[in-house]
């Protein structure tokens, strides 16, 4: 299953929540592969399990069944391996709740670098500039708009140059100008640094920025366009 060309490979992923009659089967034998350096967009109706898929791929939560390989490693249940991959391979933009409320935007970015044993460098300032949030870097989340918070989350997701960026509706709260700036940045890092991007989106416009778009339905990846 491990293939040098594929940075992410998932086979037969199952994931359900709850038990008994209230049980929801969210992922049902889902298969997906992402090529190294690919920019993939994932679309699908609300509640179909896109965020859940992202959490499983990003080792935020384990699947109930199936196989997963990340960056050439078969992923098991071992906490140490999962932690190391999360730390070294991934950068996340979550759909909501990205920032620590007690820290400023700059410190939110700095602490995730520090947690990885890294230091803020010039790249962080560039990212703040590119995302148009340099002027709010000293503010706390409560003093920022949703869109600004989301863009700071993008800065944080990219600051440590992860091999894979997992972004859950990063343009969800953005106007078209900011949305375009974000997509430009994603394309640029994808092209210039071969960073892989998996982006969930509801917007066809945003999806158009990706190399490939997949759709999710009934707990599976349904079709591939382009």
């Amino acid at each position: 299953m491990i293939d040098a060309d594929h940075i992410l490979t998932a086979r037969g992923l199952d994931k359900s929540f709850g038990r008994g009659p209230g049980r929801v089967d969210v992922l049902r034998g889902l298969d997906v592969t992402v090529r190294r350096g690919e920019f993939l967009a994932v679309m699908g109706p609300s509640g179909c399990g896109k965020s859940t898929l992202l959490h499983v791929l990003g080792l935020i939560t384990p699947a109930d069944g199936g196989e997963l390989a990340v960056d050439g490693q078969a992923v098991g249940m071992g906490a140490a391996q999962r932690h190391a991959l999360r730390r070294d391979v991934f950068g996340f933009v979550f759909q909501r709740f990205n920032l620590l409320g007690v820290l400023t935007a700059a410190d939110n970015v700095a602490i995730s670098l520090r947690a990885r044993g890294l230091r803020a460098d010039g790249r962080v300032d560039e990212l703040f500039e590119a995302m148009g949030v340099a002027d709010v870097a000293r503010r706390k989340p409560s003093q920022m708009s949703m869109g600004q918070q989301q863009r700071v989350a993008v800065v944080r997701a990219l600051a440590h140059r992860p091999k894979i960026v997992l972004a859950d509706e990063p343009t969800g709260n953005l106007d078209s100008a900011n949305s375009n700036a974000l997509l430009d940045l994603f394309r640029r890092i994808n092209r210039d640094h071969q960073q892989t991007i998996v982006m969930i989106t509801h917007s066809a416009e945003a999806a158009a920025a990706a190399d490939r778009v997949v759709h999710m339905k009934d707990g599976r990846i349904l079709e591939t366009s382009r």
Binding site: D88, L103, S112
Partner: protein, 406 residues
């Protein structure tokens, strides 16, 4: 960047302050209670050590309990025996009759002494006001004469009414008190105070640091508190001549030849501390309980903070934070809160020491650097211990659940 634990503390200022205050009160109790117990004990010991004598002679078997003894002890006749047998070594012998009387709302150890012995007893420290009680010994002579001429034992008690004792011609009811008691009770020279069923006149004020806070004529003390037996005192101080020889050797010889207990004045502090050892057990128990409560409080606060911040913890974890990193954040927060608490506690200790001494001038609170060191060490251990469980809980946070909760 702003340190996360500090940012958390500053973000919840009131809660952090209350947590620190919980620790602070525990620390303050530890420092103040210990300081009060040790301070008051050391103050007594210092006063006894200020006596310008070398040995204490007591009835056989009283040695270890010297600090708790009062009343009739050994016959005054021993003064002559010791003076004769140790003529080469002994310079002077001072018999003292100890008794507790209640003044300024508190029991005061009172020394019945002969005015002539004041110099030996205190190193000749001058009174700060007034004069010695029964300075020329007239009252003592009158009292002794009355008792010794009484036809039968017991009759002298009937014969000597309170009015007689207090008669201006032979005033037996005179007190000298120390400055601290004068301040605590608001007493002045010339004032009449009621104690032990008699009206006493305060005739002098002694400087702080003399052996007891209250002095009265020794004969009076013997007559009143030893049922008229004017032949016994509680103990005797013995001052040796310069170059008399080794203190231990002389004490041993004196013990052998008199069959009395003989201790060095310098041993008093240790005996006092041992006699009140149980008090330290009690104080330490109270301290331990106070600290445990304070740290349970910190633990609950940290624990609720961890429960409230599962989302923050999940975000950190998703962003590469290891378990060690998460644990360090919680432990650091505990240490910061505790450090604030220790600072508050030390400040509170000085404040409460000041308040105690302002409102209870007879008590002594000493805040020793060593006690502060112990408090800081105990707080450090407590900070670590109380943060371990909350820190462990932080590592167990379910990221997916925390990040998908509304």
């Amino acid at each position: 960047m702003m340190y996360l634990p500090l940012a958390n503390i500053l973000h919840h200022k009131l809660r952090s302050f209350l947590a620190a205050m919980g620790i602070g009160i525990g620390i303050c109790m530890l420092i103040t209670l210990t300081g009060l117990a040790r301070g008051s004990l050391n103050e007594v010991a210092d006063r006894w050590e200020s006596v310008n004598a070398d040995l204490i002679v007591l009835p056989s078997g009283w040695g270890e309990q010297v600090s708790t003894k009062s009343g009739s002890g050994l016959s005054d006749g021993f003064a002559g025996v010791i003076a004769r047998k140790f003529a080469d070594q002994v310079e002077s012998i001072v018999p003292v009759f100890l008794w507790r009387i209640s003044l300024a709302g508190q029991d005061q150890m009172t020394a019945g002494i002969d005015a002539a012995d004041w110099a030996t007893l205190t190193g000749d420290r001058p009174l700060t006001a007034g004069r010695m009680c029964d300075p020329d010994g007239r009252a003592s002579q009158w009292l002794a004469g009355k008792i010794l001429s009484a036809p039968a034992e017991g009759e002298q008690i009937l014969d000597l009414s309170a009015a007689d004792l207090g008669h201006p011609d032979h005033n037996c009811l005179e007190l000298v008190i120390d400055e601290r008691l004068a301040k605590a009770g608001g007493y002045r020279v010339g004032q009449i105070v009621r104690a032990a069923n008699h009206d006493w006149r305060i005739v002098g004020i002694a400087p702080e640091g003399v052996i007891t806070r209250v002095f009265m004529p020794r004969r009076t003390a013997q007559f009143l508190f030893a049922s008229g037996d004017v032949s016994r005192s509680t103990l005797m101080f013995v001052k040796l001549k310069p170059g008399a020889g080794d203190l231990g050797v002389i004490a041993r010889r004196m013990r052998d030849q008199t069959k009395l207990d003989v201790l060095a004045v310098a041993e008093y502090r240790g005996m006092l501390t041992r006699s009140f050892g149980i008090m330290f057990v009690y104080v330490n128990m109270v301290n331990v309980v106070a600290l445990i409560i304070a740290f349970l409080f910190i633990m609950v606060i940290l624990y609720t903070m961890v429960l409230q911040r599962t989302r923050d913890i999940a975000i950190l974890k998703a962003n590469g934070a290891s378990n060690g990193f998460l644990i360090r954040q919680v432990v650091a927060e505990s240490i910061l809160l505790t450090a604030m608490g220790v600072g508050l506690g030390i400040a509170l200790s000085f404040l409460s020491a000041w308040i105690i001494q302002a409102y209870r001038p007879l008590l002594t609170v000493v805040i020793e650097p060593e006690r502060i060191g112990w408090a800081v060490a105990a707080a450090g251990v407590g900070a670590l211990a109380s943060s371990l469980y909350p820190a462990w809980r932080a590592t167990r946070v379910d990221m997916a659940a925390a990040l998908s909760l509304e």
